[in-house]
Symmetry: C2
């Protein structure tokens, strides 16, 4: 299996590390021996070697392709479209920065790969949140796989659970904690009596929150994940803008303490059914499984017709976690082809 990676930030670099460290393990357990033939980033262009790039070297010179030694092509301004169409690879991995407004340029690239009969694994949310039905249809038409485990709950396999593990059941609705930054902040505000501003500063210092925290604290990141779940689980495309979305800016440590005194705990909760979705801060009773999900963890509770509620709790962010999602998707394709 020859891999072509677009995007070489934290997730891409974690993936290279995983592929390198686990090569023997993946070969021994699954007979899986992928080779990475190409890496493309907007700033550095294309690094390509048809017989596979050296992963150890690549780890060492992630930000400086010019230092890569051994047989390779380095094209600073390549025609990526042509590479995607003609290039000698089997799976496109889309790990470039997401644009939840337009889904571009990733959506065009994914389409080009699918129509060239290449499998696609994306952790880039935009294309799935905005264009999933069209992309799924393209994948079907061309007989290839389109997987996107890492777009929701990072490496915690929420998609594999809902779409494969629970394939026999029908999912009627869900609720979830799908943004780790706000969950970390709410945990700190409650447990350490921090103000919203203090908790945000702490999250930013730890790298959980961006300098501009709007996407996290106003609920838009969670809403983007709700869009993906709506399309993937219910077949209903629904943009974040078409949902009722609010965040946690209005909450104080006093609000959280008051809720606790009443046996409740504030969480930024996504609720979704085929009919609609919302993201808002809710004071959940402590008996709700989601109320016990603390720190940067994420969780999803699926309401099924055959099994009642099924809840999955785990890591929801981070380079290694998201790279694990990519590797799980690659292994799923490996099993199926």
């Amino acid at each position: 299996m020859r891999l072509f990676l677009i995007g070489f930030g934290t997730v891409g670099q974690s993936l290279i590390t995983l592929l390198h460290q686990r090569a023997d393990d993946l070969q021994a357990r699954y007979g899986f021996a992928p080779s990475l033939v190409g890496v493309y980033t907007r700033s550095q262009g294309l690094l390509y070697a048809p017989d596979g790039l050296d992963l150890a070297q690549l780890q060492a010179c992630a930000a400086h392709y010019a230092q890569y030694e051994g047989p390779h092509l380095h094209d600073f301004q390549p025609n990526v479209d042509r590479t995607l169409r003609d290039g000698g690879y089997d799976v496109l991995i889309e790990a470039s920065a997401t644009d939840l407004q337009t889904g571009q340029p990733a959506t065009d690239r994914i389409e080009r790969a699918l129509t060239s009969r290449k499998h696609v694994v994306t952790v880039n949310k935009g294309p799935i949140a905005l264009y999933y039905p069209r992309l799924r249809e393209l994948a079907r038409e061309h007989g290839v796989h389109l997987r996107y485990e890492g777009t929701v709950m990072a490496g915690t396999p929420s998609m594999a659970l809902a779409l494969e593990g629970l394939a026999a059941a029908r999912i009627r609705g869900l609720r979830g904690i799908l943004n780790g930054t706000t969950n970390y902040m709410l945990t700190q505000m409650e447990q350490e009596s921090l103000s919203y501003e203090q908790a945000l500063a702490q999250a930013q210092a730890l790298g959980y929150a961006e300098a501009d925290p709007t996407a996290d604290v106003d609920g838009w990141d969670a809403a983007g994940k709700a869009s993906i779940l709506s399309a993937a689980l219910f077949g209903v495309p629904r943009s974040p803008q078409a949902m009722s979305v609010s965040g946690i800016r209005h909450l104080s440590a006093a609000d959280l303490a008051e809720a606790r005194a009443q046996g409740r705990r504030y969480k930024l909760v996504v609720r979704l059914t085929p009919e609609g979705g919302q993201v808002q801060a809710e004071a959940l009773p402590l008996s709700d499984p989601l109320a016990g999900v603390m720190g940067g963890l994420n969780a999803i509770t699926l309401e099924t017709d055959l099994l009642g509620e099924v809840t999955l709790i785990g890591s929801g962010a981070g380079g290694t976690s998201t790279a694990t999602a990519i590797l799980n998707d690659l292994l799923a394709i490996h099993r199926a082809v």
Copy 2:
């Protein structure tokens, strides 16, 4: 896909109901249109129709094959071994009563099916708890699938999560609540201040506990599931007898109240690593995700190297839930072949 079902108790009958009710849905969503060609039980013998049995009729006469109309063979004392070897079916479904001491006669039947190049789906725990390495090897050798989702946590897809969803990670250990009967009893003892005897009587009245509750309350059912997990996740066969196993008989409502006063809650907890396993009642801190798992629910927390802890909570028993596991396994085989 032609199915042959052994065992026609609660689980088998629930499966027939599901296959019948969901026929259109399974066809529409997955292009999956299985036919049930045979049913065998020890008391009623074999009912067989090469073109498929009528599911509606079968639902109506589960306990009285003689009432089944339409083309079929009814053999009260068939040579099941020959049917398993020669019969026109693709997947054996083993849903007969389990024997955790010997794994028989189910293990022999599963071996016969695998060596005849038939896929196998079993919800019968004995063969997997006792003979998994040999059965897996037989399946590999003959190029067929062996699946057993329903042996642990019924329809909640713990096996699909650990073996497929988390394939890229290594699982270092786990802890879990894997017996719904005792979890229901402990919940009732704590919340309704019932004595052990009252809680047991209630569980028996509701059909959660058998007349002889030993397997549940002394930890052996949970230990059997730990054996399956040890073999499947760690490749280490370990019989229930080789683990440290105790139950909940010694607990009183007062013990539970005292634990609660200290911010703890008693659960019958399975702990398992490649090095060993144990089943015992533990007073978990309320911050442990397992402490919030109430009533008849089951849960498993997998300790992974790449993602930290991943927790799955859901239904752990019942005819429909276990039949859902069978159907999920059939769909996984359908996707793969």
